[in-house]
Amino acid sequence: MRASIIVFPGSNRERDAARALRLVCGCEPHMVWHADTSLPPGTDLVVLPGGFSYGDYLRCGAIAARAPIMDAVRAHAAAGGLVLGICNGFQILCEAGLLPGALMRNAQLRFTCKDVYLRVERSDTPFTRGYNAGQVIRIPVAHGEGNYVADGETLARLEGDGRIVFRYCAPDGSLDPKANVNGSLAAIAGIVNERRNVLGLMPHPENHVEAALGCTDGRGLFAGIAEHLAAAA
């Protein structure tokens, strides 16, 4: 498995992502600078890490989405390659048009940094095969703009096609509005594209892969990706 992590000025979770890939997938990811125009040959997985690319200027992810490397990321996705956008990476994927909708200021207007519960809606994607459908996992969030919005038609399509893969939920898996940490439409925490090879999510699974940090619920995502790539090889 060959993973490439795109580093933008202001990214700050790229080493967390690298550590998770190393620990769970046993691969040594490449760091790719945003001004590069191509990905290392043989890249299976592109990770757009969390952080505050370009200081969140203009809109979160807006400038990064237009960075030189993004044409290569777009081509990688178009060829069926896996793309994982975490937090700022999810914002970048929406701004780049690789995922529908947009992420707005949290409904309660506060930056929120805490563990939340997510319901895994389906296990038949390259990113969620390490979980069971309906499983509840505990994953941290750390964002001020994770309030997912989309128009009615887009939401109907996401629901109808089963492209909502993670929702904010109560510990028992029920959709409690109080558990919807940022006010996202339909409690959306993560979605995939039509081909299911591009995932964007606000929470940080890369920060829950080690028992020393109190929870390993994030491992399933990385283990699932490795399994998918091994099966496809």
Partner: protein
């Protein structure tokens, strides 16, 4: 040429910042304000003497970067 691009949220998109501003105005005792929606203004100098060409360039800029047309509308004004 001087120009201004104004970016506003589309109708129906919730604007928590606008709501907070609305509340702050109320707490200042400024009454009679029914609602507030916030947006962005870009003052731009265009190296172009033709009005229509300037407008076309700014529309391109707004579509490609200044506005996220999933959630925002924009208006281009060439001020001359």
């Amino acid at each position: 040429m001087k120009a201004r691009v104004t970016v506003t949220l589309k109708a129906g998109i919730l604007d928590p910042q606008g709501k907070a501003i609305e509340g702050a105005l109320r707490s200042l005792g400024i009454t009679g304000i029914a609602s507030v929606r916030q947006g962005k203004v870009f003052d731009i100098e265009v190296e172009e003497s033709d009005r229509a060409a300037a407008e076309a360039r700014l529309k391109e800029a707004a579509d490609k970067l200044l506005a996220n047309t999933v959630i925002e509308n924009y208006r281009v004004e060439v001020l001359g």
